[in-house]
């Protein structure tokens, strides 16, 4: 199996992008990644793109070909495939691109992810997102994602004494990081008081515990490691790529406070990279809700189960902590265009490992991890990257 590196990244501004269409977004992210990598269209062997629900959000399916077309490559007839796994769609697309190069079939693959969510009403967006839950057993009975994650949160509070204030700390931290990210939807800090007293959504989650509805696209260029230095001096090597699955519905889980799909994916990735959780220096984790970041850092092995709520007080996850988490602002502040999130997380790690993260740069970071979740934890991808 061949090693694979990231040689280019491109991301659009995340936010309410009323004046940009779905295809403009992906074309912009793709063009930026290609320019950043130094490749040309004819160098691309294959493309993979993650999109959760373009059909419901903008009425457009068949987005594999659309992405190649919108990028100006229709005449090159590049194979282009859409990958769907709810909010983990583009984490999975990265893995498909990775596997196709590792297998020896491809040398250069462009991977993208995008979602344009603001063209439908908030209620319609919530309903569309709920299609990632179990329709028969959850959505049909009225469960939405805030409700499902609220159940995880209340159980976590009951089992481990996690507090609403600890949830709020996650939002405050991620907003402080987002304030430094020029691509973030919310480039402003919030106070603990604001986060605790925000409009209730589903107890214990308030408005500021929830990631927003976002438009945006992100793209990366993957290349076989032996050819990567031809394009740039500082490619970032993917040293672990894994994926796990679990029951679609929350009630099918062994423990609703643990995302076993993440535990499984993390174990596989650590094994492949020959690393332990303590070796990770920086991480982007899937904080679709504040409780999700708390569960993620536990499930990834950064802290013990039940200790996630204390990670900020214990100075682990802040920017100046021992393992900075979500320096991009996370899904909470950077925004969560569901299909784009997995690639956007990898971009943040790449920028950090290359020393290109500007105001939010973590000094001397060499090894980073990106963690992307679909639904309430039925799919999880983990990628571990190392500076070259």
């Amino acid at each position: 199996m061949r090693d694979v590196a990231v040689i280019g990244v491109g991301i659009t501004k995340f936010g309410e992008l009323w004046d940009k269409s779905f295809r403009q977004l992906i074309a912009e992210a793709g063009a930026k990644a290609i320019l950043d990598s130094g490749i040309e269209g004819k160098d691309i062997d294959e493309m993979y793109v993650g999109s959760m629900s373009s059909g419901r959000f903008v009425g457009q399916e068949h987005v594999g070909a659309l992405v190649a077309d919108a990028s100006g490559f229709s005449n090159l007839h590049i194979p282009s495939t859409r990958v769907e796994g709810a909010c983990a769609s583009s984490g999975m697309a990265v893995r498909q691109g990775y596997l196709s190069i590792a297998s020896g079939i491809n040398d250069i693959v462009v991977v993208g992810g995008m979602e344009k969510m603001n063209d439908v009403s908030g209620a319609s967006a919530t309903e569309t997102l709920a299609t990632a839950a179990d329709q028969e057993w959850e959505a049909f009975f009225g469960a939405t994602f805030p409700g499902l994650y609220a159940m995880i949160a209340t159980r976590h509070m009951h089992e481990y004494g996690t507090t609403k204030e600890q949830l709020a700390q996650v939002a405050v931290k991620n907003h402080a990081n987002g304030a430094l990210n020029p691509y973030a939807q919310y480039q402003r800090e919030i106070t603990l008081e604001q986060a605790i007293n925000a409009t209730p959504v589903a107890y214990p989650l308030g408005l500021l515990d929830c990631s927003p509805v976002t438009d945006g696209a992100a793209s990366i260029v993957l290349c076989a490691v032996e050819k990567a230095k031809k394009y740039r001096d500082n490619p970032v090597k993917i040293i672990g790529s894994s994926q796990g699955s679990d029951s679609l519905a929350l009630h099918g889980r062994r423990d609703i406070c643990t995302l076993d799909a993440t535990v499984h994916a993390a174990n596989m990735a650590y094994k492949q990279a020959n690393l332990k959780p303590k070796d990770i220096e920086i991480a982007e984790v899937h904080d679709c809700f504040t409780i999700a970041e708390i569960c993620a850092i536990e499930d990834l092995g950064f802290v013990k189960k039940g200790e996630g709520g204390k990670a900020i007080d214990n100075k682990i996850t802040p920017r100046d902590g021992s393992l900075p988490v979500n320096t991009s602002g996370g899904l909470k502040a950077k925004g969560h265009p569901v299909g784009a999130t997995g690639v956007a997380q990898i971009i943040e790690i790449v920028l950090q490992l290359q020393g290109r993260a500007e105001k939010r740069q973590i000094k001397n970071a060499r090894i980073g991890l990106a963690h992307n979740v679909g639904g309430s934890g039925a799919t999880s991808t983990v990628h571990i990257m190392e500076a070259m």
């Binding site: 009323w18 603001n118 009403s121 908030g122 409009t199």
Partner: protein, 349 residues
């Protein structure tokens, strides 16, 4: 070219008010949060015998009371509203007859969401400037509709203002006016639908803020002015946040906008909103004061005005009609039960 401007003005706001918190409590929402979020404390509610026609008549009569012009010299009436009582049959004829301006009179009803009233001022200004009429009466008035439980229910209210436009005894000279218009479907009401629909957050940045900002910048460019040149600034006020935010972005201070910012106390009077703000400013304006006005109508467009108050405002009998402030203070609260009755949420065959 001769100056054209406002000769007189009048306003009308229904007496009844309902508190935003009372509406919120019916829907199980936190009233204080909603009230703070929207920047609206209470809104005016029309009684069952008040509509756009009666509000327009009251406002026009107030304008006539303050001056001594002969209603027969009014050559045109344009009423801007999105709640004309009839789908077919003009409101303007009712107003024309009521104030004694018929029959040698041009009349048409205007609709451009919340900016039809300022469009009426532009038409009257042009007709006077062209010499086709001596005086024109422009009115913006609404008894706006909101579906029960919709976000608009907290803001949609009633009121209106009337302006007589002419060349002699101008109290406020209209130095410049321009419009910024695109096809932007942020808010609409289809024919025969009782309540409007809207695009949620799409009504913000790409709609209100884009049109108001562009129009405001264009009018300042046309006039060669800067925000600090104005004594007062008035912006369309669908809620308490948008006008404050757009004013700040454009470089106006809160002191410049507060006299014309009425939405916290009466809600969004739609076609009446920016014009009631102008009436409120004219209630206190002194010669030499410069007034900046930008309306907004969904669909979408903005009309901008650069206005200078003249010495003649001293001669206007402003006290002959109640001031906007007096009308805001002269209020009586109703509860949601009464509100449902008078807004015809309760009806039967």
């Amino acid at each position: 070219m001769e100056n054209v401007g406002i000769i007189s003005y009048g306003a009308n706001i229904p007496r009844w008010r309902i508190k935003v918190e009372d509406i919120a409590s019916i829907w199980g929402k936190d009233g204080k949060t909603i009230s703070n979020g929207l920047g609206i404390i209470e809104k005016s509610v029309p009684s069952r015998d008040q509509d756009t026609a009666t509000i327009s008549v009251e406002a026009a009569r107030a304008a006539l009371k303050r001056t001594d012009i002969n209603p027969q010299d009014i050559g045109a009436i344009y009423i801007g509203s999105e709640s004309h009582p009839y789908a077919v049959k003009p409101t303007g004829t009712i107003v024309g007859e009521a104030i004694g301006a018929t029959p040698d009179l041009m009349v048409a009803d205007y609709e451009f969401a919340c900016k039809a009233g300022t469009a009426a001022i532009q038409t009257c200004t042009a007709l006077v400037k062209a010499g086709m009429i001596k005086y024109g009466l422009a009115v913006g008035a609404d008894t706006s509709q909101a579906a029960p439980g919709d976000a608009l229910e907290y803001s949609a209210s009633a009121g209106g203002a009337a302006f007589i436009i002419g060349k002699d005894n101008i109290i406020a000279n209209i130095n410049n006016t321009c419009s910024f218009t695109t096809d932007t479907p942020d808010f609409w009401r289809r024919a025969e639908r009782k309540y409007p629909s809207h695009g949620g957050r799409f009504t913000g940045a790409p709609a209100y803020f884009k049109h108001v900002s562009n129009c405001a910048n264009n009018i300042m460019k046309m006039a060669g002015t800067k925000p600090e040149d104005y004594t007062y600034a008035i912006f369309h006020q669908p809620n308490g946040k948008f006008p404050v935010s757009v004013a700040k972005k454009l470089g106006f201070t809160y002191d410049q906008i507060k006299q014309g910012l009425l939405v916290p106390y009466i809600g969004n009077t739609y076609s009446g909103a920016s014009l009631l703000g102008l009436a409120s400013v004219l209630d206190v304006a002194k010669p030499g004061d410069r007034i900046f006005l930008t309306s907004y109508g969904s669909g979408a467009g903005s009309d901008g005005f650069d206005i200078t108050v003249t010495e003649k405002i001293k001669n206007l009998n402003r006290d002959r009609a109640p001031s906007v402030h007096q009308m805001i203070e002269d209020k009586e609260y109703i509860d949601y039960g009464m509100y449902t009755k008078i807004t015809e949420l309760l009806y039967w065959e």
